[in-house]
């Protein structure tokens, strides 16, 4: 019917287009906020942090600080013109500590000075009188005292008490996983520039420009339309620049407001690590009832998170943890309770996976215990508990798992690596080696996509076609390295059938696309891609009308392909048509909008369909431990990752590898250490160890699951990728447990929590040796 050529455009969907800033990255010309030249007169700021975990702030005296050279302003909570509240979910979370300091590192005051050194020096001269109060530092203490930052959450099905009693076998246990600093390479930073009248322009390294806009507006007592927030790129974020960026931007804006000058606040790494939140550590307790085959009949679990001093995003993190406490398993009778414990530590926050990793860590501890108790392979017990297809397919929160492909994913993995053979190699090695022991384990993952809170699942985009055929694209998502910009550009290129180089994505701005959600929950491409597709579709329809009139055919016969627009065998270049539209006074600009369908969530009841779909994956990992020192190496990792029909396999591969290694860090070297006074001892890379290149398994193979289009109607049937692979690293924890268990002939469950520092591994080894002697 049409003569549209089979020729593909360059950089459409499914092609491995490079990150749009790759050349800028390698030449150093990609600009991060601190690289952008500021106007003369711009001030630099520094924070004054509480040295106490819990203290009443009796007085703040700025006299000595203000007298220091170059100092232009000093502020504390009392100097806030609007409302000192930047809480993302609940209320009452101050940007600057008000009356009490609730953790070591709590920002109490801030200074603006001509230079950064002057600001930091003056910050040390602020005299604050504290009345020290006793702190609560651990989850256990908070549990004992019933200290929570938010109400308990519960997901329940069946009657767990009687079901536990009725189960033939029963085990109870406990597992712990540590927190994790985001360690984005670019620290928190914001630049606030006061404009005319009451306007405030904020450049922020944030995943959530809208929340920064709201936070700044609240602090300054302004309507939202007076505040514009821009972000071009972040040097990494991982959840750490979702709510936390608002603190930094808010304080910069307060100082800018006070001085009427642009103010930049860039945190030193130590301040960043002490003042801003991290992944939640969890204490998990369980009681499980099961049959002799390993089928779980009843499970009662408590997920207690260290939320830190305020709620921040903790309620949502806990909801996600509970919604992932099933991982891939059908739990007929189950009670999942989640507690956000209040402690005098930094308020923990979003971090890639957002509770999902901790939720799965808990259930995998249960499965591991059941398997060891029955002396069955982990894989066998798992397989007996997997969600079925058409039966046993409802989650504890009442959502039917309609897209279950976990058995296929596990089969792909097994097919690729031959687990049985691998296992026998490990056993042979262990028989021959007295000091070094190897372990092997797999890990299946099912991760729900969408924000639990239904409202957040909406996005906007703005597309302009210029008369030369080039396209300007803007959307609510932010670029933090995850390749969102290039993916959305591909989507728009595909829609218009033009080469991706003609699509330019510009900095995210609250002035262009309003009321956005955070770029989080892996949802960036899903939502913004659909919104951009909507915008492009609207423009395309108008262009098609013009083309139809031009060629004298019905609009339905117009085909966009290969940078041209066809009507049968006649065609126009895309740019020519754009020019023609303009001449005929047809708008070439449109907004686009998307709301995720099908989803709903009742947090109170712990029921609903919170997720549009699930992403699956599986991993097998081999580790070796030194039983004399507890040192460990991850030797091999084999991954299978579902990403639907990938929009960009190169980006998705990078996300998978990066997330896995980040998960590896969480479970191994990344230990957060506080002293008895609540001071974080690991507040820089000298003490806090994220993985380096040598820590990546020397054999590391990632397979993107082929031929697996999303069952749901997502953007080009792709799936979200940002978070799910992180949880594949739980295989490393299980493999280390396997290595420890080998010392007791695999009969006993090892006592090994995360992070698995040499110290924890050696303790587990010694314990295993003692118990099995």
């Amino acid at each position: 019917m049409t003569a549209a050529p089979a020729h593909r455009i360059k950089g459409g969907v499914q092609s491995p287009v490079r990150h749009e800033s790759a050349i800028g990255h390698v030449t150093g010309s990609a600009l991060y906020l601190d690289d952008v030249p500021t106007v003369p007169g711009t001030l630099e700021a520094a924070l004054v942090l509480s040295p106490h975990a819990h203290a009443r702030i009796a007085s703040v005296d700025f006299a000595r600080a203000l007298a220091a050279p170059g100092v232009r302003a000093a502020i504390a909570a009392g100097d806030i013109p609007g409302r000192n509240d930047i809480a993302p979910i609940l209320k009452g979370e101050p940007a600057l500590a008000d009356g009490v300091a609730e953790y070591v590192g709590h920002p109490v005051a801030a200074i603006a000075a001509d230079t950064l050194d002057q600001a930091r020096a003056a910050a040390k001269r602020v005299e604050i009188a504290y009345e020290v109060l006793p702190p609560v530092l651990t989850i256990e203490e908070a549990l004992e005292r019933g200290l929570l930052v938010a109400p308990e959450q519960k997901i329940e099905r069946g009657d767990v008490g009687p079901a536990l009693d009725a189960a033939p076998l029963r085990l109870a246990g406990e597992a712990r996983c540590g927190g994790q600093d985001h360690f984005y390479l670019e620290g928190q930073i914001a630049l606030a520039v006061p404009g005319e009248e009451r306007d405030m322009q904020v450049f922020s390294s944030t995943q959530h420009p809208t929340e920064v806009q709201h936070g700044v507006a609240h602090l300054l007592g302004l309507p939202f339309n007076a505040v514009t927030v821009d972000v071009r790129r972040m040097g990494g974020a991982f959840g750490g620049k979702e709510s936390q960026a608002t603190i930094i931007a808010g304080i910069a804006a307060l100082l800018a407001w006070k001085t009427r000058r642009p103010v930049k606040l860039r945190l030193a790494r130590d301040d960043d690590m002490q003042a801003t939140g991290k992944r939640h550590p969890f204490l998990i307790r369980y009681e499980v009832g099961f049959d002799p085959e390993g089928r779980i009949q009843a499970l009662d679990m408590l997920y207690a998170a260290n939320a830190g001093n305020v709620a921040d995003l903790s309620p949502a993190v806990i909801a996600r943890a509970l919604c992932h406490a099933d991982n891939c398993y059908f739990l007929p009778n189950v009670r999942l309770r989640g507690l956000a414990c209040k402690t005098n530590t930094v308020s923990n926050t979003a971090f890639r996976g957002f509770g999902g990793p901790q939720g799965m860590f808990g259930i995998e501890a249960v499965i591991d215990a059941v398997a060891r108790h029955l002396r069955l392979p982990l894989e066998t017990v798992r397989q007996r508990n997997f969600y079925g297809i058409g039966r046993n397919d409802t989650t504890p929160y009442g959502m039917k798992v309609e897209d279950n492909i976990i058995e296929r994913v596990m089969a792909e993995l097994d097919g690729a690596v031959d687990l049985a053979r691998w296992r026998s190699e490990i056993d042979a090695f262990n028989r021959a080696n007295p000091v070094v022991k190897k372990g092997l384990a797999t890990m299946p993952v099912k991760f729900g996509i969408s924000f639990n809170l239904t409202t957040l699942n909406q996005a906007g985009a703005l597309v302009h076609v210029y008369t030369d055929g080039s396209v300007h694209l803007n959307h609510g998502g932010t670029e933090m390295g995850q390749g969102l910009f290039v993916k959305i550009a591909q989507v728009v290129a595909e829609a218009f059938q033009i080469d991706v180089e003609h699509v330019r994505v510009s900095a995210t701005s609250t002035g262009k696309v309003p009321n956005t959600s955070a770029t989080a929950a892996s949802s960036g491409t899903d939502m913004n891609g659909m919104a951009a597709l909507d915008a492009a579709g609207r423009i395309k329809a108008r262009m098609a009308e013009v083309a139809a009139a031009h060629f004298g055919v019905p609009a339905g016969e117009i085909v966009f392909a290969d940078n041209r627009v066809f009507a049968g065998n006649k065609s126009l270049a895309f740019a020519e048509l754009a020019e023609m539209c303009w001449r005929r006074r047809v708008s070439l600009s449109s907004t686009g909008y998307y709301r995720t369908p099908k989803i709903h969530w009742d947090g109170q009841a712990g029921k609903g369909r919170p997720f549009y779909y699930f992403v699956y994956g599986a991993a097998a990992c081999e580790v070796a431990i030194d039983t004399l020192t507890g040192e460990m190496r991850t030797l091999r990792a084999e991954l299978v990752q579902d990403c639907g029909r990938s929009i960009n396999p190169a980006i998705d591969l990078g996300q998978t590898e990066g997330a896995f290694v980040q998960g590896l860090g969480w479970l191994t070297t990344e230990e957060l250490w506080w002293d008895r006074a609540g001071r974080l001892g690991t507040h820089g890379p000298s003490t806090y160890k994220i993985p380096g290149s040598r820590d990546v398994p020397p054999v590391f193979n990632v397979r993107l699951l082929p031929d697996a289009p999303n069952r749901e109607d997502t953007v080009f049937r792709s799936k979200a990728i940002g978070e799910p692979p992180l949880m594949l690293a739980i295989a490393v924890w299980l493999a280390a447990r396997d290595a420890v268990a080998s010392l007791g002939d695999h009969r006993l469950a090892p006592k090994l929590d995360a992070p698995m520092t040499p110290e924890r591994i050696l303790a587990a080894v010694d314990d295993m040796k003692a118990r099995s002697a």
Binding site: G28, F183, N433, G481, L762
Partner: protein
């Protein structure tokens, strides 16, 4: 120095006004507006600030260093390359840049300029690009996004292409040969001295009794970088040729008081491979290109990695002042927590390490949370000699176990003379506990330190006793 003179990306720079305690990173970003190098930590651990420097005394090649730790005058007379200076004039990327693009080795890109420079320095070294060498070369650079696989691949890919900058260091240094070496740079009431001879050094020390010596600045530089307060006067040892001497005598190896780890390594490799392997785990290449043995000794940290090794080896420091020279065993030179017997006007002229006698062996171990670029929880160093299956001589020194690195006297006394087999080690936990009362801190608990220290003696026995040594992790 009337002014600082150096080459920056091939351009001559005469710097006449910047403060001598400004860091090179702040200078590049703030004064030169070269914002490719980033600040990720300001403590030498993330590598985002990595640049490459060629020094006249350093062989004609560019080496990676952390610009966040360096004081600006440390590049006086040197040639500096930053990420902005790698692409050809026509914009063609350098092979290391091109390779990173092709392997999708960048995500957020914030770490990338640092990796590019570390990779360039690696390329300039002309080593074989195998995994072990690559990890060694990249240990000073952190990436939080990619998981490193594509970056490691890029190193391999770049190794296959010729380095267009191969001759660049020699050319750049030749262009600097007419630059008169300065010995002092004073601005804003602060001074940096780079004496050219021992006599000048004596004199400067006399005139500035409070001024610290600066070796590589990997300890001292933190003051300027993190604390934002560089000392008002510093005296660098790096331009005193005598302090750069490395002598391999029949009985002792001598390392001058300004010899860097990188410079010492080839010599250590030949006589003390286990010591050399441990030195390769000190910081990163960036750190080892700057940091000196003398600096490690003078810092006298309980977790200074070389100290237990030097103590177990019976090494001495040669201390020199205008009044004369004295020799002290490293063991007696360290007098307390971060305290030494260094007297005013004195400096470490050299470190002397006795070479191993026939039948003597030396083995050192380092335990840390991460293999590379991590500070030790425990360091153990042993020198031993076996005589018909018996421990005839046994020196054991530990770091991370007390306020100073020191010998384990109860352990040494008890084990010396024993048959060297597993069964002889039943009381080693108790012996170690008699020697040390370590503390809990960020790196480990006291309990772990004690247990692991005892187990390192067990590991030593397995590796040096009769019978085949069981495979260790490093063999995997």
């Amino acid at each position: 120095m009337a002014a600082l003179r150096f080459l920056l990306n091939g351009q001559r720079v005469v710097e006449d006004s910047a403060s001598p305690t400004m860091t090179v990173l702040d200078y590049l970003r703030g004064v030169r507006r070269l914002t490719g190098a980033k600040e990720g930590c300001a403590e030498g651990d993330c590598g985002a600030c990595t640049i490459a420097v060629a020094w006249p005394h350093g062989g004609a090649r560019y080496r990676a260093v952390n610009s966040c730790l360096m004081l600006l005058p440390q590049i006086d007379g040197a040639a500096v390359l930053t990420v902005e200076g790698l692409a050809a004039p026509d914009g063609a990327l350098h092979p290391v840049q091109q390779a990173l693009v092709e392997t999708d080795g960048t995500q957020c890109g914030f770490c990338t300029p640092g990796f590019v420079m570390a990779m360039l320095a690696f390329r300039q070294g002309g080593e074989t690009a195998d995994d072990a060498a690559i990890h060694d070369a990249l240990a000073g650079n952190l990436c939080r996004c990619t998981g490193y696989r594509p970056i490691v691949d890029a190193c391999k890919r770049a190794a296959a292409a010729p380095d267009p900058l191969a001759a660049r260091a020699a050319e750049d240094l030749a262009r600097l040969s007419d630059v008169p070496p300065g010995i002092g740079y004073t601005r804003h009431g602060r001074s940096f001295y780079a004496p050219r001879s021992i006599d000048d050094l004596h004199q400067l020390l006399r005139q500035n009794p409070e001024a610290p010596l600066l070796g590589g600045g990997t300890d001292l530089g933190l003051l300027a970088s993190k604390e934002r307060r560089g000392p008002p006067v510093v005296i660098s040892t790096q331009s005193v040729p005598e302090l750069k001497r490395i002598l391999r005598g029949p009985d002792v190896q001598t390392f001058g008081g300004a010899v860097t780890y990188a410079e010492a390594l080839p010599c250590l490799d030949s006589d003390f491979p286990s010591f050399a392997a441990l030195v390769r785990r000190i910081g990163s290449r960036q750190i080892r290109n700057l940091g000196t043995l003398a600096g490690n000794i003078a810092t006298a940290s309980p977790i200074g990695d070389t100290l237990p090794c030097l103590i177990a080896l019976g090494a001495s420091v040669v201390l020199r002042s205008a009044e004369g020279t004295r020799r002290l065993e490293v063991e007696s030179f360290i007098t307390g927590y971060r305290k030494t017997d260094l007297r005013p006007g004195e400096f470490i002229d050299a470190i002397e390490i006795p070479r191993l006698g026939n039948g003597q062996r030396f083995v050192a171990y380092k335990l840390s949370k991460r293999f590379d670029q991590d500070i030790s929880a425990v360091i153990a160093a042993f020198r031993l000699e076996l005589d018909r299956g018996r421990l005839a001589e046994f020196r054991a020194a530990f770091g991370g176990m007390a306020a100073t690195p020191r010998r384990a006297s109860a352990l040494e006394a008890a084990l010396t003379g024993r048959m060297w087999r597993r069964e002889s080690l039943v009381d080693v936990d108790a012996l170690v506990a008699r020697d040390f009362q370590p503390i809990d801190d960020v790196r480990a608990t006291a309990a772990y330190r004690l247990r692991a220290a005892a187990n390192l003696v067990r590991r030593l026995q397995l590796e040096t006793g009769a019978g085949p040594a069981p495979a260790g992790l490093d063999a995997l």
